[in-house]
Symmetry: C2
Subunit: 190 residues, 2 copies
């Protein structure tokens, strides 16, 4: 069992709706030392692959993606979820369904900051149905950049998002794949 | 002129509505090395002060706040802007007016992750009218935690938010205070 899995067992709680609550160290109060440890694992997994940019989507994936980008020594690019005043000009978009907010959400990246020469590592804190990751992969494909892989801290294996991406030949690396979650009993994929 | 100010002059653009567009290195594509440099400046400014937590608000402040928390070796706590399914129980709230989205927004922190013993450094990428910072300060005050200070990368000095906080005796440290911004002419406060 790795450090993240130990923390999930020790501090995570399972709430109704298959929610695994880890907001004490992952996505509200964030243990930056744990993020560093996860980022190093991600770097080891993708050792030898050229990466020019780490990409995520706002908001809760940003801490891990920032530390991962810092670890690789490359810029971070985070997709936005709605058009704010501060993004002008050419946009690359992908529409997804957000299960968190129960509505369609458009992921947006400025075309200025991603190019066909980019070799992209997508990073996020959580993957369940994989809609957000599917959207980011679509953006990388639209631009014609190279997708090096997808790195996730906690994958809800029982919701299938990660396996759908793997079935497409994408290198999906998750530090903790939860196969079963009920109060007091969290089981990881071997 | 510090490194951030040089980057603003070299790569920033002024758009209508007093928008200073720095999304190539600050708040869309993020230069993590620059964030590290800013975080080190922040740490030097608050040298000798005890800090137990770095606090920010989603989303664009998270990269700098993450690197700053990493630099101080403390956890990051980011306030959320709307209630999602993953936050239960006691919440500390503050209502602000978002000039970006032109509507009222409630900032939310789980009471579980902030305590009267905390010594909080608030960090954000931008401050204009200072509404978001006022909201975070209000949350710190509600909890009865100690506010060590506020650290900002880019403060729009001409919009007064920073000076309003300084007038209340708060230590506001900004790396670049923009006093005047028009295309081709960005002037910093001495």
């Amino acid at each position: 069992m790795n450090e993240l899995q130990e923390r999930i067992i020790a501090e995570g709680r399972v709430l109704p709706g298959d929610i695994i609550k880890v907001d004490g160290f992952m996505n509200h109060r964030v243990d930056t030392a744990l993020m560093r440890s996860i980022a190093r694992d991600i770097k080891a997994h993708f050792e030898g692959r050229e990466i020019t940019k780490v990409m995520t989507v706002e908001a809760s994936g940003i801490p891990l993606a920032t530390i991962t980008a810092d670890e690789f020594g490359v810029p971070l690019l985070f997709a936005k979820k709605a058009k704010s005043d501060n993004i002008e000009g050419g946009l690359v978009k992908s529409e997804i369904f957000s299960y968190t907010y129960k509505k369609k959400v458009t992921l947006i990246v400025s075309a200025e900051w991603i190019s066909p020469d980019d070799k992209i590592l997508i990073v996020d804190d959580f993957m369940a149905n994989g809609e957000a990751m599917r959207g980011l992969v679509e953006i990388v494909d639209q631009v014609g950049a190279e997708l090096v892989g997808v790195a996730i801290a906690i994958e809800k294996g029982f919701q299938g998002g990660g396996d759908r991406l793997r079935a497409r030949g994408i290198d999906v690396y998750s530090l903790a794949i939860v196969e079963h979650a009920e109060p007091g009993n969290i089981v990881f994929r071997e």
